[in-house]
Amino acid sequence: MKAFIIKIVTLLMLLGFSSVCASDAQAGNAAADRAAANVETYQPKPMMELMGDFLKSTGISALVNPNPDELDSHGNKMSDFHKSWGRVIMILITFLLFYLAIAKGFEPLLLLPIGFGGLLANIPVANMAGPDGFLGIIYSMGLANQLFPILIFMGVGAMTDFGPLLSNPKTALLGGAAQFGIFGTLVGAVALAEYTPLFDFTLKQASAISIIGGADGPTSIFIATQLAPELLGAIAVASYSYMAMVPIIQPPIMRALTTDAERRIKMSTMRHVSRIEKLVFPILVLVLAILVLPDATPLIGAFMFGNFLKESGVVDRLSDTMQNALINIVTIFLGLAVGSKLASEQFLIAETLAILALGILAFSAGTAAGVIMAKIMNMFPGSKVNPLIGSAGVSAVPMAARVSNKVGMEYDRYNMLLMHAMGPNVAGVIGSAVAAGVMISIFK
């Protein structure tokens, strides 16, 4: 009992002592504050002056009379146009992105965060896209170092089912052919830059633009941040808007390149794929990537990691997080960070138009190459391939496969191509990751 009382008394004494110390420290702080306040004497201001100063700090004033000393997020001087009307135009463009995302359903998951990020990045005075603004912080946190695209790839891997590809491996060639969209556009972009006075792209910039043809948003962003960060905003916006426009861009090309009989080709039913095959496949592809193209392993490694966890079947919690929570969080950050690159001084340049034009060219070339590859494959003996699934070789998963299915059913209501088209579709993801790896290895 006695010992207990002593303990309590000691405890109280300790508490008292510490609180005395704390109050001393607080008193010290207060004194320092007072001293600071004394140094910074406050001058009374007349009401008119107060109002005038406030009016100068408003957005209207900043848009009408841009601050001549204002610097962009890279610390460079900005032209007056980019500070005033440019911002207004960009804000209107972000409204257009909202419209496309909400009313037309164009990839709303990405276009809305990108659009809103762009809106915030174009606000004068607040400087949110600068290195100390929150958009700038998100950008340098995960986009400048390519973390976000890799995390997205993990989630996409956890959502991908390689079953259709495993049951008909040769359809992977279609996914390879569609990568012609990337390299064909590279040649086109360089030729344009070389033989016309319109644009001036370096080889690196041309490569970053042409990767839009892979129809793979995260890969485009991954490459753009490495090869041409100054074009990131336009490349990401072009890439995601064209991915959303797959159902509009692809069908005319598919119809133009196929005959009616080809569109009605029925493909043989798929064989059953065992669980062990699905489990071995990610490791197999990763080992191949390690041996052939280590530069592609960040993308392929993350992709196969996600897929392996899913197919293992023993870590449903992790694979579930990757497919939902993780990819959703990263999508928000990725969208905002890309949006921060929609600042007027980076987007309202002549190159943006060229990027948009080359992007759609890349997309169409990829689609066409996939369809033509399917027709070439049909010249060889073996089971026939419906050329409509060739267009799914561009990796917009699963949109491109759905388009193949839809077009196929227009001609034969009982011809289900969806699962057959998923094979080239997921092979397209691998193909564009390989193409990205080649680009990185060239410019290293």
């Binding site: 491996p169 390879g176 012609f180 590279l186 059953h272 095959e277 052939v292 691998i430 080649v438 060239i442």
Partner: protein
Amino acid sequence: METNLVVESIKFMMLGMGTVFAFLGIMIFFMDVMSKIVHKFFPEIQPDVNAALRNTQNENNQKKVVAAITAAIKYHREGQK
């Protein structure tokens, strides 16, 4: 000599498409090999189709029994009125 960037880009294209096709080609080859090996050494135990069929038959039988009992009860009740 001024480097012709277009020629450079065509070289990139050949290298790139070559690598993509080579990679996918090797991948297809190993996928075939892998599925052969897997089917040879780890044949998946197919779910017993007959058992499943029997189950559904059982279910059907049970449904018939339930229907018969229901009908009988209904008949019985109506008969008592």
